[in-house]
């Protein structure tokens, strides 16, 4: 039995039965990392020594007869934009290469309390800006299904590490699709929860009103287990919703009879790969077969989602990233003269081109004389997009689309054309603008590459998403297929 291929709930059972130990798990995953990381390049930093220490302590506890919690002893890793006390947190940016936070993000605290064991920090597009992880200042993470292709982004490292069995699960962040699009590209389950369900405290901000931490897991059950740990109100985050968190595993019900699923036709427009379209249609047929009531519908403002997103996200980013100036921490350019020179040179040398592009876009959109025409108008359109969803959810329990219009693309294929790159998030961005939850689950293959099924639900109704995703998963085997870690 290869331990690294198992899910958290399977490993937890083994731990509870003392058929494996936490140390054995850390060692197994450590070996797996040694074996595949050279090809995958998912990690920015490994924390194996700490992990072993933590595992040994846990084993002492288990030896005393204590039962492990659901995620206790489970090896995982975090996208490198979540602050970890004493462990470098870089956002895959030169400007934060030397930054070691003196505090933990709330999700890090919660996972630590649950006893999960962190193996390291995972690569991303610099400051989570990108859809291929090619914008990392450090490395290009590769898609385990085809090493010549991107893993998607921006949570590319997180997704690839789960897909390649280097960890059991990972946390990513999703501002416009950064969990779901790579999850689709690498064949794992990726949930972006409702905005405000998971605390953003300690998540290094890209666009505050859109950013949301979520889960990357090997199946839907693990997704529910991780949500049980990380979701819930946090007084340190004023935008965190003051709602009671349910037991998400209660939604793992293999039955969707009568569930009303809307298929927004705008998500199947120009640019969708015919193979992807075919796979999604088959998935729809499967859900109907399982008892769902499926009907086409319309979200009329969908075409404005991308321009709206590319005004709001860069505007917030231009302000959020202003603090990286070389004064207090991070990169400071040498020999830069006066204070303004230091700001300019540190930022010019510290940020990569995509981050600079978005800072410029955002600064422009907020400038006097342009604010009303761009930023303010974008806020108004955002409201219209929300209303589209509100109306659709009067009729449907959830909405379904492809997660991405194409499967994983090759390195360099889109990096020269930012607009083409941006369009790979066309199906995922609206959920961020509306603040609603959405999940991507493996639903088949197009030319041998994974395709993701995208389900969008009502705010704080992760339960319905999990139920439909779980039922689909229980009646298909796509999530069990493992990548070859070769070249196609």
């Amino acid at each position: 039995m290869d331990l690294t291929q198992l899910t958290a709930h399977e490993l937890s059972d083994l731990l509870a039965r003392r058929e494996t130990s936490a140390v054995e798990l850390v060692k197994a995953f450590s070996d797996r990392i040694d074996q595949v990381e050279e090809n995958v390049k998912a990690f920015n930093i490994l924390t194996r020594d700490k992990a072993l220490e933590q595992a040994a302590k846990l084993d002492d506890k288990l030896a005393r007869g204590e039962k492990p919690g659901p995620l206790e002893g489970i090896p995982m890793a975090l996208k490198d934009n979540m602050c970890t006390k004493g462990v470098p947190t870089t956002c895959s940016s030169k400007i934060l290469k030397s930054f070691v936070p003196p505090y933990n993000a709330t999700v890090v605290e919660r996972l630590a309390q649950a006893g999960s064991i962190m193996l390291g920090k995972l690569n991303l597009d610099e400051f989570a800006m990108g859809s291929s992880t090619e914008n990392s200042a450090f490395a290009k993470t590769r898609n385990p299904w085809d090493l010549e292709r991107v893993p998607g982004g921006s949570s590319g490292g997180a997704v690839a590490s789960v897909s390649a069995d280097e960890v059991v699960f990972a946390l990513g962040s999703d501002t416009g699709g950064s969990i779901r699009q790579p999850a689709a590209f690498c064949g794992v389950v990726g949930l972006k929860p409702t905005y405000g369900y998971v605390s953003r405290f300690g998540l290094i901000a890209f666009a505050s009103s859109l950013d949301q931490i979520g889960t990357l897991t090997k199946d839907v059950t693990d997704c529910a287990l991780v949500m049980n740990v990380i979701a819930g109100h946090d007084p340190k985050d004023s935008t965190s919703a003051p709602v009671d968190k349910p037991d998400f595993t209660k939604s793992l019900i293999n039955d969707i009879k009568g569930m009303r699923i809307g298929i927004p036709r705008e998500y199947f427009g120009v640019g969708i790969d015919p193979e992807v379209d075919k796979v999604i249609r088959q998935a729809i047929a499967k859900l109907e077969e399982l008892g769902a009531v499926v009907e086409e519908c319309s979200l009329p403002h969908t075409e404005y989602a991308m321009p709206t997103y590319y005004l709001i996200a860069p505007a917030e980013c231009s302000s959020n990233l202003a603090r990286y100036d070389g004064v207090r921490y991070g990169y400071r350019a040498p020999e830069s003269g006066d204070v303004v020179g230091m700001f300019k040179k540190s930022r010019a040398e510290g940020f990569g081109p995509e981050v600079k592009r978005r800072i410029m876009l955002g600064t422009y959109a907020l400038s006097s004389g342009y604010y009303d025409a761009y930023y303010l108008k974008a806020l108004k359109v955002r409201t219209l997009i929300k209303q589209d969803f509100d109306q659709a959810f009067e009729k449907f329990d959830l909405l379904l689309s492809p997660t991405a219009p194409t499967p994983a693309f090759k390195f360099g294929e889109k990096s020269a054309n930012p607009l083409a790159m941006y369009l790979s998030d066309i199906c995922t961005v609206p959920a961020n603008l509306a603040g609603i939850p959405a999940i991507s689950v493996p639903c088949g293959f197009a030319d041998g590459l994974p395709v993701g099924l995208h389900l969008m639900g009502k705010a704080f109704d992760e339960g319905t998403l999990l139920r439909v995703a779980y039922t689909f998963e229980q009646n298909t085997d796509y999530h069990k297929v493992k990548p070859s870690l070769g070249v196609k």
């Binding site: 936070p101 100036d325 004064v327 207090r328």
Partner: protein, 482 residues
């Protein structure tokens, strides 16, 4: 100098709020402290941190709005004001832009007996920045600059006036009144020497009779009334000179050089920052419940104007009422003493005279006075009921300041009880009358004033302990029988 011009001025006041903790984190707001010790990841703007609004800040803003007759917004939000400066850890200041917490309002001032209402445009909440220490004179001429972030995130209120001020005197009167109100409602320490209240003054001139505004300059960061006065006087003269020579004032931000007593150009309108305000996405908008506003309204202390009116009603002079209500601490002291000693005029004389005199001589503040309101009331009661004379009381209050002891205790210890015993005084009076025949003769000859000398002699013999009224009465009786 001013010639045919009229002054038009408006002021932005920044007041640090007297909350225990900062506006968005739990750090102390205490002034001073080792550099960068009153800080945490949140106020240092480290990556990934989020602000959590201190509710007390909102309550103080509501209180201020009510004191300034403003409308308290039902819906208000924070915005980011974006600009780069090393004392601003996030390179944006969390402030309020288009939906401030308080709108409108006024402050009533009185200059040369004329009352006038100065309009308030708005009051909003924001965070203070840190402090820069340069090795040279300015940031651009220094080899090294240091930043102290202790002050970063201390809550500020910005109070913006309408351009209703028409003279330097009106401006200073407005500011004094505003600071007095902030002090009364206890939302700010108003320690100007610590920079807890700062003023930005907008000044322009226009031909008398014109209703159009002239081009204005804004001078930033003045931190005393006298600086405001000197700065405005300078700026008025500067602008008047330009205008009377047919020139044009440049719209710009200026800075005040306290040493040289001049204003200097900081940046022109063209160089003005584009702050790129937008709604703060890390904080949720505030819905300010009316119940809350009413609760604050009910807890409001008496404000300076109504307090002054009340004191005038008790028979105090306008001057005395003005001095006593000038600070909340003194007014509180007066009221607490008045609760135990009902003669307001006598109390006012003592507070204004001996009490403030001794405080000043000792360099003490009202709240640190060794003589408490009850102590002063006790002393004055001893005078009122004839236990000691007013003259002795002056010695006793000095002793009270020195030793911190109570009036009755000192009187008893030192045997200062007034001699009101007729028989005890009769002998002394006989003696004084016998040894001063000339004065007796003068009195008999109709010189009423001669009795004053005789009273003085009796007081001298009794070391001031005789009841002067009684001595007067007994002397007269004695002389009339002679």
């Amino acid at each position: 100098m001013l010639g045919d011009f009229e002054v038009v001025a408006g002021v932005e006041v920044h007041a640090e709020l007297a909350t225990k903790t900062k506006i968005f984190c739990g750090c102390t707001t205490e002034f001073g402290g080792e550099q960068n010790t009153h800080v945490c990841p949140v106020c240092l703007g480290l990556p990934g941190v989020l602000p959590v609004l201190n509710r007390q800040v909102v309550e103080y803003a509501i209180k201020t709005g009510l004191a300034l007759n403003s409308e308290i917004a039902e819906f208000s939000k924070f915005d980011r004001k974006n600009y780069y400066y090393p004392d601003l850890p996030k390179n944006y200041q969390t402030s309020q832009y288009d939906l401030p917490i308080c709108l409108g309002g006024y402050v009533e001032i009185e200059v040369d007996g004329v009352k006038k209402r100065i309009g308030i445009t708005r009051v909003h909440m924001e965070e203070d920045a840190g402090k820069l220490v340069h090795s040279g004179a300015t940031i651009s001429t220094s080899d090294v600059s240091f930043v102290d972030y202790n002050r970063t995130g201390v809550p500020l209120l910005e109070i913006v006036s309408e351009p209703d001020l028409r003279s330097v005197d009106e401006t200073v009167a407005y500011l004094e009144k505003l600071v007095q109100i902030l002090d009364y409602i206890e939302v700010s320490d108003c320690r100007m020497e610590q920079g807890s209240v700062r003023f930005d003054v907008n000044v322009s001139l226009r031909p008398k009779g014109s209703d159009k505004f002239g081009i204005r300059t804004e001078t930033k960061n003045l931190n005393s009334f006298s600086s405001v006065r000197r700065c405005m006087e300078y700026e008025i003269e500067r602008q008047a000179e330009i205008l009377s020579e047919g020139g044009q004032v440049i719209q710009e931000t200026r800075t005040w050089d306290e040493g040289k007593g001049i204003t200097l150009s900081l940046r022109s309108k063209e160089e003005a920052h584009d702050y790129r305000y937008f709604p703060e996405p890390d904080l949720v908008p505030m819905v300010i419940e009316r119940k809350w506003v009413e609760r604050v309204r009910e807890s409001m202390p008496e404000l300076p104007d109504s307090r002054r009116q009340r004191l005038l009603g008790l028979g105090l002079s306008a001057y005395d009422a003005g001095v006593i209500t000038s600070s909340r601490d003194l007014a509180e002291f007066f009221d607490q003493a008045l609760a135990k000693f009902k003669d307001a005029k006598t109390l006012a004389n003592w507070v204004m005279g001996d009490f403030l005199g001794l405080l000043k001589a000792k360099g003490l503040l009202v709240q640190s006075s060794p003589v408490k309101p009850e102590g002063l009331a006790e002393l004055l009661t001893l005078v009122e009921n004839g236990t000691i004379s007013g003259k002795i009381a002056k010695t006793v209050i000095g002793e009270m300041f020195e030793t911190g002891k109570g009036a009755a205790e000192i009187v008893k210890e030192k045997g200062l009880v007034q001699i009101s015993d007729t028989s005890a005084l009769a002998g002394i009076i006989d003696e004084v009358v016998n040894s001063n025949p000339q004065s007796v003769a003068d009195f008999k000859a109709g010189k009423e004033r001669a009795i004053g000398f005789l009273v003085g002699q009796v007081m001298k013999e009794t070391k001031g302990q005789a009841n002067p009224g009684l001595v007067n009465k007994l002397l007269k009786e004695k002389l009339e029988t002679m």
